[in-house]
């Protein structure tokens, strides 16, 4: 198979996964909406009753409130999942780095929790909107964070800071807590330079004496001829 055909196939495969995931998250949201309304209706009907008419009414209210909280959490998950899925719709688009990275970070939180690693993020308010590949940018950040999660000891900390540098954005990932490194890069890490090259992004890494690492990715808009050339 020609490399171009292979590349096109991979892009379409990604779009296909994205579409199915987006569809599924919409379906979840529909079910959540129904549960929320049914739960709300129970609450409304309880409120319409005369005082003392229902035994355990305080308990019902507490249960209703608990269900509402879970619905809100699940709806937020769906919102991030839906956003993440739609990133795969097309290879290039105008994107908010904050939105793109927040989705990625949200979806990685569970893994960080399981490893008992803190995942902290901070975004400058005035970040530029850039024209680039949102899904690939998420993948690039994944290639930094995922190996760190695998290699970091419990109690470690991953801090992601995004700041404006003119028309570019600088994504600084601080990995605090010495990584138990294998001799070679992990399969994810060794993909990173290539991925960043496609994004037209710069990369620098440094490790201090305690073994804490700082990874800096500088990204800006990409030439719109990218999709034709690749």
């Amino acid at each position: 198979m020609k490399p171009q055909t292979m590349d096109r196939l991979r892009k379409m495969q990604l779009a296909f996964v994205g579409k199915l995931m987006a569809g599924l998250s919409h379906e979840f949201k529909n079910h959540l909406a129904i549960i929320k309304e049914l739960n709300g209706l129970i609450e409304d009907l309880l409120l319409l009753e005369e005082p003392g008419q229902t035994t355990n009414s305080e308990r019902y209210k507490k249960i209703i409130s608990g269900i509402n909280e879970r619905i809100a959490q699940a709806a937020e998950m769906c919102r991030f999942l839906s956003g993440f899925s739609h990133r795969m719709d097309q290879p290039l688009s105008s994107l908010s780095i904050t939105d793109v990275l927040q989705e990625k970070i949200y979806l990685l939180r569970r893994f960080a929790r399981q490893k008992q690693v803190d995942l902290i993020s901070s975004f400058e308010e005035d970040l530029p909107v850039i024209y680039n590949d949102p899904s690939l940018l998420q993948f690039a950040i994944f290639c930094i964070i995922w190996p760190a999660l695998e290699l970091m000891p419990e109690g470690g900390r991953i801090m992601i800071t995004v700041a404006r540098k003119g028309d570019s954005a600088e994504i600084i990932v601080n990995l605090v807590g010495a990584l138990k490194r294998p001799e070679d890069d992990t399969p994810w890490e060794d993909m990173l330079p290539e991925v960043l090259q496609i994004l037209g992004a710069g990369l620098s890494r440094s490790i201090d004496q305690e073994g804490n690492e700082e990874v800096v990715v500088k990204i800006s808009s990409i030439d719109s001829s990218y999709s034709d050339d690749n």
């Binding site: 919409h26 909406a33 129904i34 409304d44 919102r79 956003g83």
Partner: protein
């Protein structure tokens, strides 16, 4: 004072009937329709709602097409889009702003937010009617 007439259009029958009941408890006069064709038939039969709550994604004729039809028929009917879309949901994100939607609410919706938006939409409609627009 007469009740605000709300037409709720959503193909999820259980969602539509439950939400309609909740809105009626709050003093609205809500009719639920489960397809856009029925909703448009109702409007064309001169059963004019004040506010339409319209699901964006529906089979056959979707919410956006229905919005255009409603606004073409009577521009004073205010339409609030319901969507399962992701982040933020400004009107422009779903493209309904340019077709005259009043606002967009994300599912699952908060009933208080929804009733507040219906009331705001009603004020806008009343102002338009007072100016003699549309009707």
């Amino acid at each position: 004072m007469s009740k605000v007439k709300v037409l709720l259009v959503d193909d999820e029958v259980e969602f539509a009937t439950t939400l309609a009941e909740r809105l009626n408890i709050r003093g609205f006069e809500t009719t639920a329709c489960f397809c856009t064709e029925d909703a448009l038939a109702l409007i064309h039969a001169k059963d004019i709602p004040d506010v339409v709550l319209l699901d964006l994604k529906m089979p056959r004729m979707d919410g956006m097409e229905t919005l255009k039809e409603i606004k073409k028929y009577n521009p004073t009917i205010e339409v609030i889009m319901l969507t399962g879309h992701g982040a933020g949901v400004p009107l422009s994100a779903v493209g309904s702003e340019k077709h005259g939607a009043f606002d967009c609410v994300m599912k699952p919706a908060d009933i208080n937010e929804l009733t507040s938006k219906i009331n705001q939409a009603m004020v806008k409609r009343q102002n338009a009617i007072n100016k003699g627009e549309g009707e």
